[in-house]
Symmetry: C2
Subunit: 721 residues, 2 copies
């Protein structure tokens, strides 16, 4: 039986009343929900718990959609590159796409709306030089230049909702109709969506919370001819694009977007691409539209006396919770999945709603809950990684998903989650509304800034990628560290300078990406603002290829701050004298060797004897610091997530901020442990982030030291005297 | 006593007559030379051997130079980047330079000839916004933009010859005057140089061969304030630049070069920088001038009945032996140092002279010839690596340098070189003038083409650099392989297409460098010519970052040929399906694992299921092949030199050329052994390239196999029946 109650959402399912009641009590849950593939029956709905019901706005209504196919969601796709061998080139533009998902839009004249591009000489092929054969879905260029490559940008209707498609294919469903998504930008769809929600609210009086899953436009998810994922961008605006949308954009902004503005060489403006002004305009256009339309639905929910909650995923495009229009929607809550600390913060830092909820792992699905497997392993890992982030910024609720009947077969797991839910409520009681002690305020600087807070380096939602893990570790480390973290864009710096209270700026990413900044760094205003700010005492940390663009004899435009640059070959003739690492440095004074820089970066070299080389191996620098006027720069070649690297980053931040003397305040000397202090309510907590017993010295707000032993995963709460 | 005689040059020194005679006989030498720090006495000169004498044209004449300081060699240097903090910025433009080597040129008005650049916004600062203080060698900008970086491009006089400076400092000479180099573009210097040579020829009647060391302009070698090397570019035109040269250039070409055309952001147009049209014009201008002036000196030598030989190094700028004007000079011979196979070929492939000579290692200097060390180790290594290249294209002579008296103290070494000289003459007798069997003809494609044959990836002459060894291995491998190798530039391809007899083109280097090609790959003509050529049956091998520039949705512009591209982040959203290597492939069928790609490249991925992935590890492709029409592409992530990688490259070349069936023709199956066949004189040789006994199968011209055992380093000669 739980010691405390509330703030927990339980998935349930029909014919599971008794066990649901038992777990409701044991976990102190106060809400139940349906899941993909489960329904709540009347007895469950009658329990003393709020009822969450999943609601799909633009799918699952084929009666409507199939009779309004002209209002189906559209996309603008780019064919693969096609090589001309002679002057006639026929392009099977749908080659590689899944024809169950997308069909060419011939309702609108291809000659007017499509674009054929010679990618070799980067020119548009005039429409009178190509023809489309609708019977074969092919396009023929009649005066191609041999051995140039051509692409076709073409409109399609997306005739299958990507999430349903994914579930359908993954679970090998049979005899289930394909959900046809419709576009509420269209008149009938807009009216239908509202009418439909009204009816549903009437038909579902037991629902307390309408869990929108989600609103209108799915993130870009395109399958290939073998019905496998072909393109996935969790941030992708692909499904927002339609001929109507582009026409309305032109009317509103006074200029027309080209198909190329959307397909962008086939990169489709992923979050790794430095966004053009035109694409940012388009995003803004969509966000305003989505907020306005979502608001109408939320108002219907409120009018019927229920709460409106949004799932942060699936059809979430345009609702960006850190965007300027989100609060206009008027949602009561947001729920999202928690893979670790950064994804917890992605949810918990959202403002403009009454509550946030994290859906924790593991899902109660057979891939984890099978005989012989211990689901506690994943649960402990998930909880420990999220818990340190909760200490900084708590979600208001936690919950689970899947088949409760399945989880119920694992009593040890049920026991463990009982402890977790109690621990969560205990933390929540202590930290909610409190400003935790932060030694330093850090801003992450990239092309997206606040809009994509805690969302840097993500392709599909927080999956591991070779090209990202060495950067994503920065967010994961910060998510649960005693650091205040904000996100700034290059435009923010240009327009408003560096905010007064920021101590340290981090710029991290591969050269040319939106995260490093690419051509943005050719902007003298950006560069001089940052140089001046650091010179006058700010701290700048560059990770990977920060401020990187070849310009003016430098690759790192802030090489002068960092004290290092990257050798691309052009300056090999210039002797590199500085190849000896210091024997000790504040940043690595408690580091274990060897340091891990993940994918790391090659050929980084120190610019002068003043550069503090902290790590040098394999003929290159991987860690360095540099004094710059009153400020400091720190360079790190990569930062995959680990407790060791969390400490390395913390020390780098304190060093960059010239606050080394404050490092041993609310701090431990065991890397597995962290301290969080809440001066307002005079509490502090020491966390054991590991599943083993740990001994550590703990430093209080005056730097006074005590020794402690913590049980595996333990939190010890203490009073500040 | 040597079995054969001739083709060997011996260093000697005064008071060493008896031993010199002994070694002359034992090594079969037919020429003796002086060296840095040695002189030949009359008795030596009277021996039955040609006498080589080192001759310096533009140094070692301080009597003249010190009275004509206005004719001293000039350079155009760039200061370091200087950060403005306020609107006044004073730049110590000589900071970091060695003031014993260079002094600012105040004879010519800085306002007219110098250039101050704002590197942050990439603009020129108008001369009326800065002033120069000659007393302090400083330049003050009076309206600097705070936190912009500024550089000064300024003329200096180089008042110390770099080679003498290097020797002086290295050997800690005392009381030796600094050699002041003078510029033969100047009237008095031009007249003096000729007069001086005439006099010298009269004064040195015993000299048979005038060894020019070298002509007029030293490769760029600049020292720092601590008298250490600061900038070294063996190809660098730094010392050719003068106010007079630029004025004459303008007159001839009809446009003026800017200082920036020379200093090039501080990279000084090193061989790694893709050359601009303007810089290529300048090089051509210098080469024509140098050839013309050198010719005048060579004619004086010939007029006096001697031979003229040029050392390939030191003041060799403008004499480029593969350049269009070299043969005009009329030299009898070229001598250069041999570090391995590629540097041997760099000498031996030179045409337009009567003979070439290689100076082999080790130098007879105390750094190798000291008690307890075995100089044979370096000698064997040097000989084995050069010998395989001699089998393809022999130098006409070999020689040594340094103190013969020192080498004489190592009898085992004297014995070993006796064998080497005999072996060299035996090889020469068999291969000179013969066209060795080559299974495939390969062209190395880069920005420099023929001009810098065998000179790719070099900074200082063939030293190891982290950024180059993974490419230099290509040249070293090819230098002694049964492959015909030529060098092509991008301009060659544009202007003349691919030569008819080329089977395979190799493009190899880091993105953006002159070797990969950078922006050259945005040229549709280049790209389509190569695509068409491969499509119709050619072979293309890309190593490292071939054809790399971000353009049209690709990073490798010939990704379609190679079957692979590099992920920079922009296409992370696109699924990469092809991650399984083939279990076997022709290219690796006799490879030892693990393969070694040196520095390798990250994030290479296969474009389609048709790509033949040969090696895949660490989530990326390192070796792949791809069919492209009738032709093929091969991708290799890097190729450091080894016998294993030589074989890997050979197989890649045969595969790209579609000549796998011919691979076992004049071939071995032991990686340490190679076969060279000379069909015209019906001889072939099997080489053991190792210092251990080797067993191997040997395949003859019909692919017939025989087994052989070779002693360490052995060559077995056989007749073709
Ligand atoms: Mg939930
Ligand atoms: Mg010699
Ligand atoms: Mg193919």
């Amino acid at each position: 039986m739980s010691q405390t109650k509330g703030r927990v959402t339980l998935p349930s399912e029909a014919n599971f009343l008794k066990e649901t009641k038992e777990i409701l009590e044991r976990w102190g849950a106060d809400a139940i929900r349906d899941s993909d593939g489960t329904k709540l029956d009347d007895e469950l709905k009658a329990l003393d718990a709020k009822v969450y019901s999943t609601y799909f706005v633009t799918r699952g209504h084929n009666d409507f959609a199939s009779t309004h196919l002209d209002e189906c969601v559209q996309m603008l796709l780019m064919s693969k590159h096609n090589l001309a061998i002679c002057d006639t080139l026929t392009i099977d533009f749908l080659d590689g796409f899944y024809k169950e998902q997308v069909v060419a839009d011939y309702r609108h004249d291809p000659k007017r709306y499509w674009e054929v591009i010679d990618r070799t000489n980067n020119t548009i092929v005039e429409p009178d030089l190509w023809t489309v054969d609708q019977d074969t879905d092919s396009l023929t260029i009649t005066s191609a230049i041999p051995f140039h490559e051509y692409t076709v940008s073409f409109f399609v209707y997306m005739i299958w909702d990507p999430t349903q498609m994914y579930n359908y294919i993954t679970n090998n469903w049979q005899d289930v109709p394909h959900d046809i998504p419709f576009d509420i930008r269209q008149p009938h769809s807009a009216a239908f969506a509202k009418r439909c929600l009204k009816d549903w609210l009437q038909e579902n009086p037991d629902t307390d919370v309408v869990r929108f899953t989600t609103f209108f436009y799915h993130f870009t998810l395109v399958f290939n001819a073998e019905a496998k994922e072909k393109f996935v961008d969790w941030f992708g605006y692909g499904a927002t694009v339609s001929i109507k949308a582009l026409a309305e954009f032109e009317k509103e902004y006074g200029y027309a977007l080209r198909p190329e503005d959307i397909v962008d060489n086939g990169y489709y403006n992923t979050t790794f691409c430095v966004p053009s002004r035109r694409y940012l305009d388009y995003m803004d256009f969509i966000q305003r539209f989505v907020a306005e339309k979502a608001k109408e639905l939320v108002e219907l929910v409120h009018d019927s006396g229920r709460e409106a909650m949004m799932f942060l995923g699936d059809n979430w495009i345009g609702t960006e919770p850190y965007g300027p229009y989100f609060s206009r929607i008027g949602l009561d809550g947001v729920v999202g999945s928690v893979g670790g600390g950064a994804t917890l913060r992605l949810i918990s830092d959202i403002s403009g709603v009454k509550y946030t909820e994290g859906r924790f792992l593991p899902y109660f699905f057979p891939d984890t809950f099978y005989e012989g497997n211990d689901p506690c392993i994943e649960a402990i890992d998930n909880w420990l990684s999220a818990r340190r982030a909760i200490m900084r910024s708590p979600v208001d609720r936690i919950g689970y998903g899947g088949y409760l009947s399945l989880a119920y077969k694992f009593p040890k797991f049920i026991d463990y989650i009982e402890k977790v839910t109690d621990e969560f409520r205990m933390i929540y009681a202590n930290v909610k509304g409190q400003k935790p002690y932060s030694g330093v305020k850090v801003a992450i600087l990239n092309s997206w800034g606040k809009l994509r807070s805690w969302q840097s380096y993500m392709v599909a939602h927080a999956l591991w990628y070779k090209q990202t893990y060495s950067y994503f570790g920065i967010l994961e480390a910060l998510s649960g560290a005693a650091i205040e973290t904000v996100f700034l864009s290059f435009d923010d710096i240009r327009e408003n300078g560096v905010p007064k209270d920021v101590d340290v700026i981090i710029n991290a990413g591969d050269a040319g990406t939106a995260f490093s900044g690419g051509e943005k760094w050719c902007d003298p205003d950006l560069v001089t603002t940052l140089r001046k700010w650091v010179y006058e005492g700010g701290g700048f940390i560059g990770i990977g290829e920060p401020s990187a663009v070849q310009h003016g004899g430098r690759f790192f435009q802030l090489a002068d701050i960092l004290g290092v640059d990257k050798e691309l070959g052009f300056s090999l003739s210039t002797d590199k004298y500085y190849t000896k690492a210091l024997t000790e440095h504040f940043i690595t004074s408690d580091a274990l060797t060897p340091l891990s820089f993940g994918e790391s970066k090659q050929s980084i070299y120190a610019l002068s004897e003043d550069t503090e080389i902290i790590e040098y191996s394999n003929h290159e620098v991987h860690l360095a610091a540099n004094a710059y006027g009153e400020g400091r720069g720190v360079y790190i070649a990569g930062l995959p997530y680990s407790y060791e690297n969390t400490r390395l980053l913390m020390r780098s931040i304190y060093y960059a901020a010239h606050k080394e003397r404050n490092f041993h305040v609310w701090q431990t000397d065991n890397l597995n442990c962290e301290v969080h202090a809440y001066p307002e309510n005079k509490k502090y907590a020491i966390l054991n982030n590991s599943n083993e017993t740990q001994e550590t010295n703990v430093y209080d707000g005056q730097g006074k030291c005590q020794s402690l032993t913590l049980a595996p995963c333990e939190i010890i709460w203490k009073e500040i005297h």
